[in-house]
């Protein structure tokens, strides 16, 4: 057992490390209100997400991790620093960077179908192509029966599936997920965590994922970025093994694996320091 763990861990020199950064947050600082007087949300954070990598940012609540995400998506401008996609300034938000919001943010006046097609219509995809991609996503996310439903008719878990489908249907180069399962009950969360894990392994999405759950971070992440309390700085970056057996199965099984437990303890220790320190 010990030996196999070591072997898998050494296998973590993943091919993605040589690839260029798909998304780079470079020396990001963000103040809300005047510099020096307002709220200092994020201080000098740099994160590189390589192609096909799943980066999880974890930290105590209020540490500015969601701010990092809105800056990464282009929804807010950083006070200092820059956001790069393929080494070039990323500019305003656009379909290369799809976002899954914590509170789903589905348009209440539109059906599941209209919500998922929204981005395709805005970017001028042909009607036939829209339909094909819609059908594909409905199938992947298990939403075929809810095509004509309004968001208010769906459970939280179903709504978040729609939100994920709406993001994936754009075939984005980068997927930004802001505590996507934070508003869901524990059972639904587990199911969706496993589905996101499966999707990532099959399709190699490039993901920046924000969470406050250490368990979620260890299960989903290729690398975990631990943030300090506000103003959020990067405290530690921890590489996790990829392609290990416990990441391919259910999260309850993974949670019993010694390697998982070790990483969880290490990361939780780092987060805990931030919560308890004054």
């Amino acid at each position: 057992m010990e030996q196999s763990v070591g072997k898998m861990a050494s296998g973590s020199t993943n091919p993605a490390t040589e690839a260029p950064a798909k998304l780079e947050l470079r020396n990001i600082s963000k103040w809300f209100g005047p510099v020096g007087d307002g709220v200092h949300a994020v201080d000098d954070c740099s994160i590189e997400v390589k192609k096909g990598e799943f980066i999880v940012v974890v930290g105590p609540s209020g540490c500015g991790k969601s701010t990092l995400m809105t800056v990464g998506a282009g929804l807010e401008n950083p006070t200092q620093g820059e956001v790069l996609v393929d080494g070039k300034p990323a500019g305003s938000p656009g379909p290369t960077r799809s976002v899954v919001f914590q509170k789903f943010a589905l348009f209440p006046s539109e059906t599941v179908e209209q919500n998922i097609k929204f981005g395709l219509q805005m970017t001028g995809v042909s009607a036939a192509e829209q339909e094909a991609r819609l059908v594909e996503q409905l199938k992947i996310m298990g939403l075929e029966l809810f095509r004509k439903s309004y968001p208010s008719e769906l459970s939280g878990g179903m709504q978040q599936r729609v939100a994920i489908a709406r993001a994936l249907v754009m075939q984005p180069e980068i997927l930004l997920m802001d505590e996507p399962f934070g508003a869901l009950d524990a059972q639904t969360r587990t199911i969706l965590q496993e589905e996101v894990q499966r999707l990532h392994r099959e399709k190699h999405y490039t993901v920046l994922f924000i969470t406050h759950s250490v368990e979620e971070a260890v299960y989903l992440g290729d690398r975990v970025v631990v943030m300090t309390k506000r103003p959020g700085r990067i405290k530690r970056v921890i590489d996790l093994p990829r392609d290990v057996i416990w990441k391919t199965g259910d999260i309850e099984l993974a949670a019993e694996h010694p390697e998982f437990i070790e990483f969880r303890r290490e990361i939780w220790g780092l987060v805990r320091e931030e919560i308890v320190s004054i």
């Binding site: 976002v99 348009f107 805005m122 754009m170």
Partner: protein, 262 residues
């Protein structure tokens, strides 16, 4: 009563209270003659007057004619108030500069009673449809602007963010995301505007014009015919309720997602 739905109960109570009123009316007039007919006509007299005005022209027009003229003036006033008021309200909320610039003017206009515009409307338009329509417009406009503005201002930022992320331009975000989200509030504004406009119309017709329900009431006073006044007042009340009900009912077809928001 246990088998009735909430809506059924409301209808039952409505019928009950109207019946009590009618009974009291019958007692006070036909039955016991507590009140003289020239002060309060009996229901029978009012019904006779109704029949008479429907079949015989009164001051040049039968009752349906007066109703149509009133509806036309009211329709034009409310329509223009909606066509102007909704965009103004939306832009107040969408563009803070626009609001800062125009709000003082709006506040001032808002506090001038609609009837204060009647002399001006007469000087501008003479005794035409436009005169009463302008008064209706003035009465309807503020509610539409205020509620449209509120509706847009209350749209959560996360929806606008989501629209931006998925590549929508500001204009398409406005049309496809912001306006539908603001629609219930805009609808409320329209409902208030419609009833304000209706009341202002009758007021304006009392003062200006030679047709319409308000004019009919005024003629009733001239001819000392209380029954005519009652016919006018009842017609005005019933039409008001009818219009409001239609607008209320239409909401579920115009905003289908609200049906399930429950």
């Amino acid at each position: 009563m246990g088998v009735l739905t909430d809506r059924g109960k409301a209808t039952a109570y409505g019928i009950f209270s109207l019946s009590v009123l009618l009974t009291l009316w019958i007692c006070a007039t036909s039955l016991f003659q507590w009140i003289e007919p020239r002060v309060l006509p009996s229901p029978a007299q009012v019904i006779r007057q109704f029949a008479w005005i429907i079949t015989e022209p009164f001051s040049g027009l039968r009752l349906p004619g007066h109703i149509l003229f009133s509806l036309e003036r009211w329709g034009w006033g409310v329509l223009t108030a909606g066509l102007v008021g909704i965009p103004v309200g939306v832009f107040f909320a969408w563009n803070p500069w626009f609001k800062t610039f125009l709000n003082p003017v709006f506040e001032l206009i808002h506090f001038i009673p609609p009837f204060a515009y009647i002399p001006l409307a007469v000087l501008w338009f003479g005794a035409s449809t436009a005169t009463q329509a302008m008064v209706v417009f003035v009465a309807a406009f503020p509610a539409i602007v205020i509620n449209s503005q509120l509706g847009v201002a209350q749209v959560e930022k996360i929806y606008v963010d989501a629209a931006r992320v998925f590549g929508a331009s500001p204009f398409r975000t406005l049309c496809r995301v912001v306006l539908p989200a603001a629609a219930p509030s805009i609808y409320t504004g329209l409902r208030i505007a419609i009833s304000n406009g209706w009341m202002a119309l009758v007021g304006a017709e009392l003062v200006v014009g030679k047709v319409g329900l308000g004019f009919m009431i005024a003629q009733g006073q001239e001819n000392a015919s209380v029954a005519t006044i009652f016919v006018g007042v009842i017609t005005i009340g019933c039409l008001g309720v009818l219009i409001d009900t239609l607008v209320q009912r239409s909401e579920r077809y115009v905003l289908p997602w609200r049906r399930v928001a429950g």
